[in-house]
Amino acid sequence: MCSALTPPPSAVTHRLRLFAPTSNPIPIHTRIDFRPRASSLNDTVPSPSSSFYDLLGISESGTLLEIKQAYKQMARKYHPDVSPPDRVDEYTQRFIRVQEAYETLSDPRRRELYDRHISSGLPLAFSSRRSNRFDEELEARSEWKSNWQSQLNDLRRRSSQKDSRGNVSWGARMRRQRDEQVAAD
């Protein structure tokens, strides 16, 4: 059903080929946006479901410099002191969110947690408050746990293969030799 996923060649751009009900596969870029977009780009406050990256207008693999530049741009634009008087509340809200986005993305550790948060697909709004982050950390760690548990199971299964006659590596030969000696004693 699903055609082979090409592994991402670099951290910067990814292309995924996903099957479609129609015959031609659609090449889709990293950031797909099916949310309804306002006609004018920057006027409405984005919905809480948009990510910090969307908020700053950069790609998910943006560098620290890009993040800084985007933040400075946004901050200058949406600061309550320079916003048009009829849109102060809206702009202030946006400014606060931009601030939060910058704080999270500029710290490598928090950015990493945030990346994990998005990948887990939770619908909750991300907050940098400690308790929420702790819950997320727990959740992310438990994902890891199921991961390595299956890897350990796999290791056990492979170990029987490693001892078979077919394995001619140096290590396998030495192990067989050692086992034969132990059996002989």
Binding site: D115, N147, L155, G171
Partner: protein, 730 residues
């Protein structure tokens, strides 16, 4: 009840061990049992704490070191030794075997407090040790050192390991003369399997031990702990490549804390680690491809509608299986079975994985990817940009380090300023270093010229050849690598730079003896191995002003490679050239600093300062001697040497380097020139033919026999004034 508990206690040869289970018991009887047991199990070295001996600490935050405050207002850390009741009962790993998981967690917390307390008193490497506390506890709990071999790459994170392996009482002497080494040392303890200091050697050594074990028919385990920083070096891949091929059973633990350079930060804040490997490792953690697929799936679902939702969920599951199940192609391709990522601060997880791997009969090489945080458990370290990698003595309560006040700055800082001045004048000047932006001072250069400073990760060999490539294109690369680490890149220096006569400039910091880091880090051999190369210009400044001039000289030498060496430590306080811009020196010309008679001291590098001090010592005994600064080892100042040899009875060459260096070149020239056929006596003063152990710089210099007193004594001994020699030495 009490009788039953007594019968459950296994008795060991050395001390009485207590195994206390966490089964509930009535409070009064358990109290009396506890006090009785606490009297019985007193370790021979450390008395149990005055607190109620085995009561578990209430932990305020998971994973944070906790020291019970003596008063409510004294804060979390205090400069008295924090109570460590459980750690007090552990002298060797065998004492840990009966602890429960809860007790092991408590042990980890106590171990963390102990590390912080010890390093606060002595200085040393803090952040890395804090990051591996849980890992150390888990390793020693699951494996049986010293039969099982546990290797620590670099070794600067092995402070918890040393505490748990019988050296806790000596931790106050770490990195000091005659004390514990700051890295692993085979002669120090049987639990230190392999001497480390330079990075990326643990997998190679571990594989050697695994293969040796196989050949000898033994059954112990071999575990090599290596960081993601050390993983950027080629030797790690050479080792993994070989390990995958040989298929011998061994465990590699990749300690991933996203720290590659020292510090992994610029002067302005934390920075992402250099190298493509780091982003590959974080992709393993954040599972980005999975997320993208999910986004796609969500989007497709929304667009197409209800029935597709099921399909999308299936796609999700399929993708998860494909991506997470495959582990990591990078390590798998090399033949190592990949397990991870694992939370490196969760002892339960670590122990279950290690136990599982240990008990699996045949594994071949396995790589466990453990994710830790450098400096974990000490908030000041967690927040610092350099994660408190290497610290001086500090106050645990505030995290403030006690940095001595020096009137001058370090040679490292002067070098960085000199290079910045050169780079301002010449846009072709670029700097290269190998993950040592802090130690080489090039973080200063980076701030001024962000696009002209290259951090290649821990890859000295690549750094040299990379610099050679830059030189081919007409740039002026300054390859700044510690003298000791330059040893790694020697073939590249010879073959890629010197043979082709490419104008690469080598700035070798930490030349000579380096103090607390010890012989693994001392730059004893660079004069020897650089000066024997046909095309290399070799020079050494005797003070910081000379350093500025030599940076300018090196920048000006554009037709052949050049190098200069400078030591750890601070300048002497001489006036610096204006605008930090040095003047290029005349190549192959030294200078005379003091005019005297009978004996001439020809010094090379900062040993000249010791010569000047020796001259004032001899003057107080009525002998005014000549002191000259050779400046260049290659090409030698022939005229200077000829004139010194002809007008003095004795010529003593002094350098802080091994045999085969400056003194040997002078002797070679003198012999060929016929200067040794006359009446002049030549004597060399070099580092002795043995490794000088770690200690204070003054102690090391005394051990090496290169102090001003030693030099003055040598002067007197050669001219027959043995009484003065003795007087000077006492």
């Amino acid at each position: 009840m009490i009788l039953m508990m007594m019968m459950m206690m296994p008795v060991y040869a050395s001390s009485l061990r207590v195994s206390f289970s966490s089964s509930p018991s009535s409070s009064s009887s358990s109290d009396s049992v506890r006090t009785h047991l606490s009297r019985l199990s007193s370790s021979p070295l450390l008395a149990p704490s005055p607190n109620d001996g085995f009561q578990a600490h209430v932990r305020r935050k998971p994973g944070v070191a906790h020291a019970a405050p003596l008063s409510d207002n004294s804060g979390e850390y205090h400069s008295r030794r924090p109570p460590t009741p459980l750690l007090d009962t552990i002298n060797f790993p065998i004492h840990m075997k009966n602890l429960s998981i809860r007790e092991l967690r408590q042990l980890a917390d106590e171990l963390r407090s102990d590390v912080i307390f010890n390093v606060s008193k002595t200085g040393g490497h803090l952040g890395s040790s804090l990051g591996v506390v849980e890992l150390t506890v888990a390793l020693h709990y699951v494996f049986n050192a010293p039969q099982d071999k546990i290797l620590w790459d670099v070794g600067h994170q092995s402070y918890p390991h040393k505490i748990l392996t019988g050296r806790r009482d000596k931790m106050s002497t770490i990195r000091q003369t005659n004390g514990l080494a700051g890295f692993n040392k085979r002669s120090e303890s049987e639990y230190d399997c392999f001497g480390t200091g330079h990075s990326s050697t643990s997998i190679s050594a571990g594989l050697g031990m695994a293969v040796g074990r196989d050949l000898k028919g033994r059954k112990n385990h071999v575990v090599a702990v290596i960081g993601d920083g050390a993983m950027t070096a080629g030797q790690a891949y050479e080792a993994m490549n070989n390990a995958g091929y040989l298929d011998s059973d061994m465990i590699v633990i990749l300690n991933d804390n996203k720290q590659v350079s020292l510090p992994t930060a610029t002067l302005d804040g934390p920075a992402p680690p250099v190298g493509a490997l780091s982003s590959a490792l974080s992709r393993l953690q954040s599972n980005r491809p999975l997320r993208e697929l999910r986004e796609v799936a969500k989007g497709v679902t929304k667009q197409i509608g209800g029935p597709m939702h099921e399909l999308a969920a299936k796609v999700d599951e399929y993708a998860r299986g494909m991506i997470s199940g495959s582990g990591s192609t990078l390590f798998e391709e090399l033949g190592l079975y990949y397990i991870g990522p694992v939370d490196g601060h969760n002892i339960d997880d670590l122990i279950s994985i290690l136990k599982e791997v240990k008990s699996t009969k045949t594994t071949g090489p396995v790589l466990i990817h453990v994710v830790t945080e450098k400096g974990r458990g000490y908030p000041y370290a967690e927040r610092a940009d350099d994660k408190y990698h290497g610290v001086a003595k500090f106050d645990p309560a505030t995290g403030k380090q006690f940095k001595g006040t020096a009137k001058t700055q370090s040679y490292t800082t002067y070098f960085a300023e000199a290079l910045i001045a050169e780079a301002e004048a010449d846009k072709d000047v670029v700097a290269i270093h190998a993950a040592m932006g802090g130690g080489t001072g090039l973080n200063l250069f980076l701030r001024r010229f962000p696009t002209r400073c290259f951090d290649v990760g821990i890859a000295e060999q690549h750094a040299v050849t990379f610099a050679a490539g830059l030189a081919c294109e007409g740039l002026k690369p300054f390859c700044t690598i510690y003298s000791s680490f330059m040893q790694r890149a020697y073939d590249q220096v010879v073959h890629d730079v010197d043979l082709q006569k490419l104008p690469v400039r080598f700035a070798m910091d930490r030349a000579g003896l380096v103090g607390a880091d010890g012989p693994t880090h001392s730059g004893s051999f660079d004069v020897t191995f650089m000066a024997c190369l046909p095309n290399m210009v070799v020079m050494a400044p005797s003070d910081e002003a000379e350093l500025f001039h030599m940076v300018a000289t090196a920048a000006a030498i554009d037709d052949r490679p050049s190098c200069f060496r400078y030591p750890r430590g601070n300048g002497i306080g001489i006036e610096l050239p204006p605008g930090n811009k040095g003047r290029p020196l005349e190549v192959g010309k030294g200078r005379i600093l003091l005019e005297g008679e009978r004996v001439a001291l020809l010094g090379y590098g900062t040993a000249v300062q010791s010569c000047l001090a020796a001259a004032s010592l001899t003057e107080s005994h009525g002998l005014r001697i000549t002191v000259a600064d050779a400046r260049f080892c290659k090409p030698l100042d022939h005229a200077l040497i000829r004139s010194l040899a002809k007008s003095h009875e004795v010529l003593i060459t002094v350098e802080e380097g091994s045999i085969g260096g400056f003194g040997s070149h002078v002797a070679q020239f003198m012999a060929l020139d016929g200067l040794l056929d006359g009446t002049v006596k030549w004597r060399p003063m070099v580092l002795p033919d043995r490794y000088i152990d770690h200690g204070s710089p003054a102690d090391q210099l005394a051990e090496a026999g290169l102090t001003p007193a030693h030099i003055a004594a040598t002067v007197f001994n050669v001219i027959g004034g043995t009484r003065e020699a003795l007087a000077v030495m006492s």
